[in-house]
């Protein structure tokens, strides 16, 4: 499974970035091999619709699941359409969040947790 985690810096020891559309980095992790790659958020400087643009990006990267802090209404709708599982409310490091996911301690969100433009 390919999991993407929003992160404040570009390593597994990074703190989770609580924002989705405006996160600093996206860390893609292959949970079978534990290989990973950190990518700067391509939509960070977008004037609007960042959550939608990042949703498109993680969909194009064929992510199956997302771990982040909060999710806005547009991203929630887009990710649901793509069938990407969204785990919200995560904090601590990327590594800790991945361990929690593997241990089955995370539950997927059923909808948005914040209003639009909350990450600005």
């Amino acid at each position: 499974m390919k999991v993407v985690v929003t992160a404040q810096t570009n390593s597994l020891d990074s703190e989770i970035d609580p924002r989705f559309g405006r996160c600093q980095y996206l860390i893609f992790v292959d949970t079978e091999t534990d290989s990973w790659v950190a990518v700067p958020n391509p939509a960070l400087a977008e004037p609007g619709g960042a959550g939608i643009a990042v949703s498109q990006f993680v969909a194009d990267e064929k992510a199956d699941a997302l771990i982040t802090g909060n999710i806005g209404p547009n991203a929630a709708r887009g990710l649901a359409a793509q069938g990407i599982k969204v785990y919200v409310g995560s904090h601590g490091t990327v590594k800790e969040a991945l361990a929690a996911l593997k241990a089955g301690q995370l539950t997927p969100a059923s909808g948005p947790t914040v209003k639009r433009r909350s990450g600005m």
């Binding site: 939509a43 977008e46 004037p47 609007g48 619709g49 960042a50 939608i52 643009a53 949703s55 498109q56 969909a59 547009n74 709708r77 887009g78 990710l79 359409a81 793509q82 069938g83």
Partner: protein, 282 residues
């Protein structure tokens, strides 16, 4: 002659200046008043128009035919606002952030995109004494105001004398939509660090648009000298200073006009107009 009243900072007294100026000028000839503060238009409280005509403002937003859409993503590339994405193998529209440019429909290779109107607000018009009054008002929850401002400006009858446009606060697109193409911008500010900061931003904006401009200082006897010093340094005329008076605030709170309640202010607003005219004709 189109005069926009703008500010940068909110709550400085744009509408107060605009409506009082409109009232004194309307005694001498036709005046059109355009309330471009479409998020919270309030000039009607003071000029009390009979709004007898209402026009809806809409933009065209894309609708996807899910049979024809093959998820190629050309529409996503064409959209400058991230209002469309291919998710779940089909284009998905986020209508509330769409600016209605029509680019996606134009580039779609399978003709899967048609467009339908999405209402943003209304423009109302009617007489306020001898002022022709226009008001734009966006619907609650609508984030896109520029088309409504443009809709309000389309009601301007080009041949008719003086047009006063009451702009929204700030220095973003809705302000540009209100002041672009005007002959003069009056910037209303207050003598505080906040007023000065936002005045500087507003001055940058009108300089970028290359529109002659001058300043009115409201509540001029409070705060500090920062605005006065800035205007002197930058060579910007201060046309009028209005003191901070409880009786002015009371008049305004009751929807009254300073030029009606305090006749001594009539010549001051007339003089303000003459100073603006002098700067426009230079």
């Amino acid at each position: 002659m189109k005069l926009a009243v703008a500010s940068g900072k909110g709550g400085t007294g744009k509408t107060t200046i605009a409506v009082n100026l409109a009232r004194v000028l309307a005694e001498e000839g036709p005046v059109q008043f355009i309330d471009c503060d479409v998020e919270e238009p309030n000039a009607h409280f003071f000029l009390k128009p009979s709004l007898d005509t209402e026009r809806e403002v809409s933009i065209l937003v894309p609708v996807i035919d899910r049979v024809l859409c093959n998820g190629c993503g050309e529409c996503v590339k064409a959209c400058a606002f991230n209002a469309i994405a291919v998710l779940g193998h089909k284009a998905l529209v986020f209508a509330e952030i769409c600016h209605g440019c029509g680019g996606c429909a134009r580039v779609c290779p399978t003709k899967a995109i048609t467009e339908q109107p999405n209402r943003l607000g209304v423009v109302s018009t009617g007489p306020a004494g001898n002022i022709f009054f226009v008001e734009g008002r966006i619907d609650v929850g609508t984030p896109l105001s520029v088309p409504v401002t443009k809709g309000a400006r389309r009601e301007i009858k080009e041949q008719d004398g003086i047009v006063i446009l009451d702009a929204p606060p700030g220095t973003t697109c809705p302000v540009v939509a209100a002041v672009a193409g005007c002959d003069y911008v009056l910037l209303v500010t207050e003598p505080t660090p906040f007023g000065l900061n936002d005045l500087k931003l507003a001055v940058e904006l009108v300089r970028e648009l290359d529109i002659p401009h001058g300043v009115v200082i409201n509540r001029a006897d409070i705060g500090d000298q920062g605005v006065e010093e800035f205007c002197r340094r930058e060579g910007i005329s201060i046309h009028l200073r209005i003191p901070f008076e409880r009786q002015f605030a009371e008049t305004i709170a009751h929807g009254g006009l300073l030029v009606d309640a305090f006749p001594a202010w009539r010549p001051k607003f007339q003089a303000l107009w003459h100073k603006i005219q002098e700067e426009v004709t230079v």
